[in-house]
Symmetry: C2
Subunit: 489 residues, 2 copies
């Protein structure tokens, strides 16, 4: 088969990591190899052959359409730098944990973003127990060593807290029963509830569960500093600081761009790259201000067209009979035809009549120019940034594959008519004790054992390779039957 493409893949990490299951590595519920798939394995079956290079991209030259790469691993040959020219460049470089300038985070806390992070946390948790077990350790120090603090109440933080709870309940109880009275788990969240991207009902479910599990929640609390053995936390409610001693602190509060993204962004600053959180891409995921560069996943953010700016032309387009008002029929037709171009309006497609009635404040049976303006404002305000999830990145990858195939057949194809659309399939978070919370639009919103079974089923089905599916199933059975291994290395 003659191929349209010659694909080169550059990544300093020679494997794909199934990040959503990373918290399971921190306690040994899962084995590290279970949730990684080597790139070599992934590309083996792809035709045409993909060339993979284990290297880090050090810079991008959008003018010359060329990237510079470097082998940054321990073993290097006499040639460790190379350049790759490109026709199209896809940046899918991810992100790194954000510290928001908080002092001490990098020195004294642990991130939970990579396999190495999870391995280190697993070893350190047990280290805390073994150090508390040293003869003559004062009770106060035992309490400090066995105080586990999680900063960040997002899915990763909550799942880690849940894993920790399981480890304590099942394995610590078995091996370190005499130390159980000294154990405490804290979760520090800057907002007023955990899992704030989920529905309030779900947050409450999690908070109740954590309360039963003796996981102390510190909401509305901002970490001011991480010291070697304690956190300084500002409690908004009281307007004062408290200190939280810890044996281990896991930091999982958000993400920021990696240096390469900052570099590209800075070089395109005068071309509209002004977002500090990620590269701004258009509806086709093209990096704004650059030619033939696409960006997907955590490193990118889609710039929505502000509908209000297009008010004039849109109203004109909608007002077919030109009477200065939009009848129900005109409005319906308009949404049907135009929402493909403006994904923000798509959400109203299923409830056109409802929104028409809502906007028709004066109940005139038609929308005035002013009423239509309010609709666009409403749509603009409702659009939020896409979450930094595997689900978004995965859909973007699939979208881009189709788009690039279109461009390969016709480089001048009008791609603006087919913007990227995110379809939220749902979110899950496992929270320990064979319970999970989840929300699937129009289907499910809640938590419990059944949701946990769904969570397992879905994540099992999401594994790329048969090997990973077998390993994951095996790990779940192994942990259930034999518990977690507390060996640390």
């Amino acid at each position: 088969m003659e191929s349209d493409f010659e694909v080169s893949l550059v990544s300093p990490r020679n494997y794909f990591l199934f990040t959503p299951l990373l918290p399971g590595l921190t306690t040994g519920t899962l084995n590290d190899r279970t949730i990684v798939t080597s790139i070599r394995h992934l590309i083996k079956k792809v035709k045409p052959q993909i060339s993979y290079y284990e290297a880090s991209c050090t810079s991008i030259d959008p003018e010359a359409q060329q990237v510079e790469c470097q082998d940054i691993s321990g073993i290097q040959g006499s040639v460790s730098k190379f350049k790759l020219p490109y026709d199209y460049l896809v940046m899918a470089v991810g992100s790194q944990p954000a510290t928001f300038g908080t002092p001490g985070v990098r020195q004294y806390a642990h991130f939970l973003k990579t396999v190495e992070d999870a391995q280190a946390i697993r070893s350190k948790i047990i280290d805390c127990f073994e150090s508390a077990n040293i003869p003559g350790q004062p009770d106060s120090e035992k309490k400090r060593l066995l105080s586990f603090v999680v900063v960040g109440g997002g899915p990763t933080g909550c799942e880690f807290a849940g894993e920790l709870h399981d480890l304590i309940e099942k394995d610590v109880r078995k091996y370190y029963a005499h130390l159980l009275p000294y154990v405490s788990v804290h979760l520090v969240q800057s907002q007023d509830k955990v899992l704030n991207t989920f529905d309030k009902k779900i947050s409450e479910f999690v908070e109740k569960k954590f309360s039963r599990d003796h996981i102390t929640l510190h909401t509305d609390s901002r970490v001011k500093e991480v010291k070697p053995n304690e956190l300084v936390v500002y409690e908004k409610k009281n307007g004062s600081d408290i200190t939280l001693p810890f044996g281990l602190c896991v930091w999982s509060t958000g993400i920021e761009p990696i240096p390469l993204v900052k570099q590209v962004r800075d070089s395109l600053k005068d071309k509209g790259q002004t977002n500090t959180r990620a590269l701004v891409v258009d509806d086709n995921l093209q990096v704004k201000g650059a030619k033939n560069i696409f960006a997907i996943g955590d490193c990118s953010t889609i710039e929505r067209k502000h509908l209000k700016e297009h008010l004039g032309e849109m109203f004109q387009q909608a007002d077919v009979d030109g009477n200065g008002e939009l009848s129900w029929k005109e409005f319906h037709h308009f949404l049907d035809t135009v929402s493909k171009k403006y994904p923000q309006l798509e959400v109203y497609n299923g409830r056109v009549l409802e929104i028409f009635k809502e906007m028709d404040v004066d109940k005139s049976g038609s929308l005035s120019h002013e009423e239509f303006k309010h609709l666009l404002e409403k749509a603009d305000s409702e659009v939020t940034v896409l979450p930094s999830t595997a689900q978004v990145a995965s859909q973007q990858g699939q979208y881009l594959a189709t788009l690039l195939n279109t461009l390969a057949k016709d480089p001048k194809a009008d791609i603006s008519a087919t913007p990227f659309r995110y379809h939220h399939r749902g979110s899950f978070a496992s929270i320990g004790g064979s319970e999970a919370v989840g929300e699937v639009p129009g289907m499910l919103e809640g938590g419990g054992f059944q949701v946990w079974l769904m969570w397992r089923g879905i994540y099992l089905s999401k594994q790329f390779s048969i090997t990973n599916k077998v390993l994951l199933s095996f790990d779940w059975v192994r942990t259930t039957l034999f518990g977690r291994d507390v060996s640390r290395f």
Copy 2:
């Protein structure tokens, strides 16, 4: 149950490592967790309860009967040092890899003694392939990067070479086929054959297999220096040096005492601790010159009584009728009764008549004083140091358990009548391609697929816990079905 003992266990490594299977970790045939068992798990079922402390013993005070320990891990409490008094001390501290003063070994080669070593080697092997794959890498450099050199032709070195061969044949062929022509494996051995503790037939079997597998053997070759990318090797046959470029060098040539053992040895130097390789222990595994200290495994070596020194008393004892000669009956009776005390003589037990005839040079039908002296000299010369294997350590552990129970019942019991006896059950080494070599006294001596099956069966049965048995079986199936994961972290 009232117990005779209060047992404290001190080890900086909180798990037991099944060292004989360590080479399988270097390529991913086995998973790291498969061959470790946490000490917490091992002691859980033991009554009376054992107190385990994750710490390193920093010094031993034989006078005060006390050890000093220190928590040397990353996380420490305010108390990290402690002292433990003892009635009996058992040193089972193992050994560390020896470099024999060869420059560059620690900097540029990898040992294969710990889980961390094996993990590093696994990652580096793949790193070599990925670095050879960098665009523009010259052919000479590809050859250098993909030259894997093993120093040491003992079981570990041979098994690692075999593992490497399997990885190359099965997984490299699948993922890095274009790099296969550049791959080479070298094994450097200072002696004239590999596996020199095995029978010559077995060494030859292995050498033939390695030759078929394109593993280049450098026997009678001594490494003079390890440089960043090459070895300087002295070839005894030619009396000259060659250089061996490498991408990865694994050093597995032998062992030396850890610092604590050196310290104890030096403090007892004037009490007979003169062996530089290990602590000298008597037939009851008691450390020579110290009171109530036992040593087992790699850190100890048994000092055999030189029989010749006891010639007078032994002859007197044997010569029941006092006629100055040993009749066949007297000799037979003597060996029967006395060999318990002198394990060196035990080897003759099964062939008393044979040895009697051999020693009776003048065919007088009895042994003269001179002939008896020759027998003792022969026995003295035949005794060699016990190998540094798990098998020896395990038997010593079992022996010591019985001995300590005896002493607990009667501290003045005559333990000299029950010296430690090593029963060699056999040795195996897996050499790649589903083949192994093995020798079991009186049963087996050879190699091949059937021996490999035996090897697997025996090592499976030797696993301490059900968990390890399940994990080991699973890993073997996994590797057969899915191959090895080449992800590296």
